[in-house]
Amino acid sequence: MRVPLNWLADYVDIVLPPEELARRLTMAGVEVGDIMRSGEEWEGIRVAEVVKVDPHPDPEVERLRLATVELDEDERHTVVCGAPNIAPGQKVAFAGIGTRLIDGRTGEPTVLKAARKRGVESAGMVLSEKELGISEQHEGILVLPDEAEVGAPLSSVLGETVFDLDLTPNRGDLLSVLGVAREVAALSGGQVRDPSIEHAAEGKPIKGRVAVQIAAPDLCPRYVAALVENIKVTESPSWLQERLLAAGLRPINNVVDVTNYVMLEMGQPLHAFDFAGLRGGKIIVRRAGPGETLTLLDGTRREMTADMLVIADAQEARALAGLMGGSESEVTERTTAVLLESANFSPAGIRRTSQALKARTDASIRFEKGLSPRLPPIAAQRATKLLVEICGGHAAEGMIDVYPVKEKEARVDLTQERLHRVLGVELPATKVRRVLESLGFGCRWVPPDRYIVRVPYWRTDVKIPDDLVEEVARIVGYDQLPTTLLSGEIPAFSPQPLLRLRETVRDALAAAGMQEVINYSLTTREALAKVLGPEELAINPPLRVANPMSREYDYCRPTLRASLLECLAKNVRSQPGMLSLYEVGRVYLPRDRELPREIESVCGLVTGRRPDRWGQPTEDEAGFYDAKGLLENALDQLHLQAHYEDTIDYAFLPGRTAEVRTAGERIGLIGQLHPRVTGAFGIKADVAMFELDLDALLPHVSSVPHYQPVSPYPSVEQDLAIILPEEVPAARAVQIIKSFKLVRDVRPFDEYKGTQVPRGHKSLAFAVSFHNPAGTLTDEQAGRERGRIIERLKRELGAEPRS
């Protein structure tokens, strides 16, 4: 909503400078998004008087004349001018050489240069409205009012300060200059001057000539019609055009301009029908029939549905209620009588229609915010007055006013106790009353505790006592309220173990050198199809967004894999060495008639060449075991024992993929990605990846580790090397070795396959730590235990000791 301050000043005295007024309005909830000053761009353009107009010396040139303009007693310029309307005595806008302007022909900004026109030097320019950027008018020069001071900057004569308001949806009443004036009055201590609605009614009574019937009172609580005849449709007077332009509306003709003017002034959208275009003098407010169509003023033909409201005459729909009129009853130059509609429509109905037809108008924007049903007769009278004054019409006597269910005047009771409770401060009753009255509320103080408040009709947003609390607080100023800290009881603690787990994992991965990334939660089906098998996608189809912003983001991701690989693909070129990334985020698994299951998921990847002591890439490619080290480190931070079992997965290389399990439950996956997958993302290098399901992991994590006393007895360290069939996993040997009573710890430290061992076998070495919690262990005792271990490995795994 644009509010020109000159216009605003019609209804309230503006006693504050624009910046301060804007600040107060903004703090009180009426945000001034921008203070626009027309005229700021007119730097160097001044008011001049045309003192002389001579014909061009070249008799061939008929169109051009030489105008002499005076800016000062000592400053006169002669310019070559082609405007037909230039005449001595006019006050005009003059631009000297070097002034910035808008080119009258191209509409582009330009700098005025000295020019010769047909052999005569022109020392500047007398400007048209188009060259000033005021309108499209370029036929003649702009003639200023006689009282304009010669030599003064043009902006002091024509310049206008306009507040561009960013309004909140609850304040439909502020979509009017008058509504803003009421706020200004309350914030700067003035009185509001309501615009006059008094007008002569010289015409025949409207009764008997116009009939209004509301067939859908749920969508139209009130309909007021007025009739103005003998009008002449023409251009509006310039003051009216200028006000509309300053407020951001294009002038059309005097009738339409009046309806728009009153809408901007009072907030009530109006519609003027060409009375001749209405059959039978009838207005029927009804729901659209099935398949009913209407050609609107903007030339579009719309098909309506049964929940849309139309204004029809005896024959057919003539307007789409609250949105736009139809072209059949449009006011044109041939129009001599108009039927003025000033109605109240249901906000929800207008919004539904507006959304269904994807059409928003200045009228629908106002109706959908909720207007008072008490406004239509006032606006109708105001518009009738202006139609009579501006369009030379005769107003028919009386109005038709159909208002089946009269709305009661709203009354809200507020207690002093409530005001205090919500604001945290006592305010004196006199102050509260003064504030409410300054906003147009009626307020009666009933000691000891109660205000009886009558809500003015335009404040449809005020319904409950706390609404009044806000009114008081915002006018007093939120900054005037005290500032205290919470003092009450602190609620009982409830632990959030999943959050704690998630942040521990984040920290562990970052501390181990992985970079955290955050990708969008939406992806494409194509990206998902690169990392999930077709059956998987078919069985658990991911959720789709019905109205995606673009095809890049239309599916809710059921895995983090694809996003992380896209992220890697974007970065792989700028990073020559090893890259390790991870993301923690929700994945969404659809469920029947329920919200999807959202799982906290972790995905990490490692790729590239490992660094040397200097951090320079070596020839060593990072792979499965790098990823596994990172994962083990994170799980160790959680004091979690996990084991790894061969598995297969669509995205991973068979034989290099493992399920991560703990206590028999799958908590994640790790492996080297299949080159088909990395290739699909344009990645050439090998990538190892792991995934963790934190929800599955959670039940296995205890919040604190259990303490083990440190033994006073020393351990004996011995190595053990065996040759095993290749298919036996090292974990089985570890498990057996660990089961021995005197073994405290065992760690594999070498794996060898090759010429030194028989075909189909591998050599494994373990560092075993022997320990007796009951006393000092000797080397001999450890050696005997070691022998028993080897016997068992032989027996159970077919292992052979290696010398």
């Binding site: 409770r421 003092s487 602190i490 984040r506 920290d507 970079q515 990708n519 967004v545 809710c556």
Partner: protein, 356 residues
Amino acid sequence: MTSLLDTISEIEQSAIGELKSASDQSALEAWHIRYLGRKGKLTQVLRSLAGVANLDERRAGGQRANVAKERLEAAYSEQRSQIEEQRLSSVIAGERLDVTLPGIAVPRGRLHPVTQTMRDVLAAFVSMGFQVAEGPEIEWDHYNFEALRIPAEHPARDMWDTLWIDYEQDGRRPMLMRTHTSPNQIRIMEKTRPPVRVVVPGKCYRFEATDPTHEWMMQQVEGLAVDDGISMADLKGSLTDFARRIFGPERRTAFRCDYFPFVEPGMEMRIDCFICRGEGRLEDGRPCRTCHQTGWIEILGAGMVHPEILENVGYDSGRYTGFAFGLGIERIALLRYGIEDIRHLYANDLRFLEQF
């Protein structure tokens, strides 16, 4: 007599003289054997005293010889520590390290700047007694809008352009990507009784074109405090305290009236611009771009929980009042780190992320 004492003095002098030229460990040891060893010169003199008949002479000689012995031992240990020190310094000099060379490379990883900012914001509220809870990112229309007093045809829906899930139930689309964390106000109050003090972090989504200040995915923190006696003054105080914890203890806050359907009164908090110190212009006179020359930066929306919402979850709105707020983490991250374009955050360029 004289000759004995003289002899001792001579031995002492020549020993001191020779000691100076014993410049390494073995020369020093040879010297020690020569004078103070079992067959050393001074030892022999001491032994020869037994043969001196005159008692006075023997005593005088003995005393003198012992003095000489002590002096030589002292000189010896001084020389020895000097030699040791010299040896060490030459060793150290030879093993000098270039301390300016880098340490052994350890892979470095960092948390995303939004994660870091989120943690700081949550920590500020946790220290005020707030608990952290979370809710679903894919929500029902009911929680995201209806229960927050934003029914289907309410114009306030325009404040949250919505991404709807392609799922129909009874001819409606009831599922959406939550547009804010506010649904958790309802979810929390449905499960708990006052006193309530909770912050809810999480991702939110809007149907919105991106530009330097807008992203379609964002992380918010919702705050909710409900109890007997919570006022707008408490809201102002808690949020001012928060702003100072995040943006510095000298920060000033300003509160202006604003509208959200689920609060009444509603407000927006601004902090004084910490780049231009609320002046709107930088010290060199250039306009401040951080606050768009206003001197103030909008930080969050807040308000007193609407009494209808309290009643709908079964709280007595005559007794209980509360405040709620919602803030965007990205915006705070941009301000903290001086990032000019929000789109950098989720573009995930490592050259950007490695800086935090």
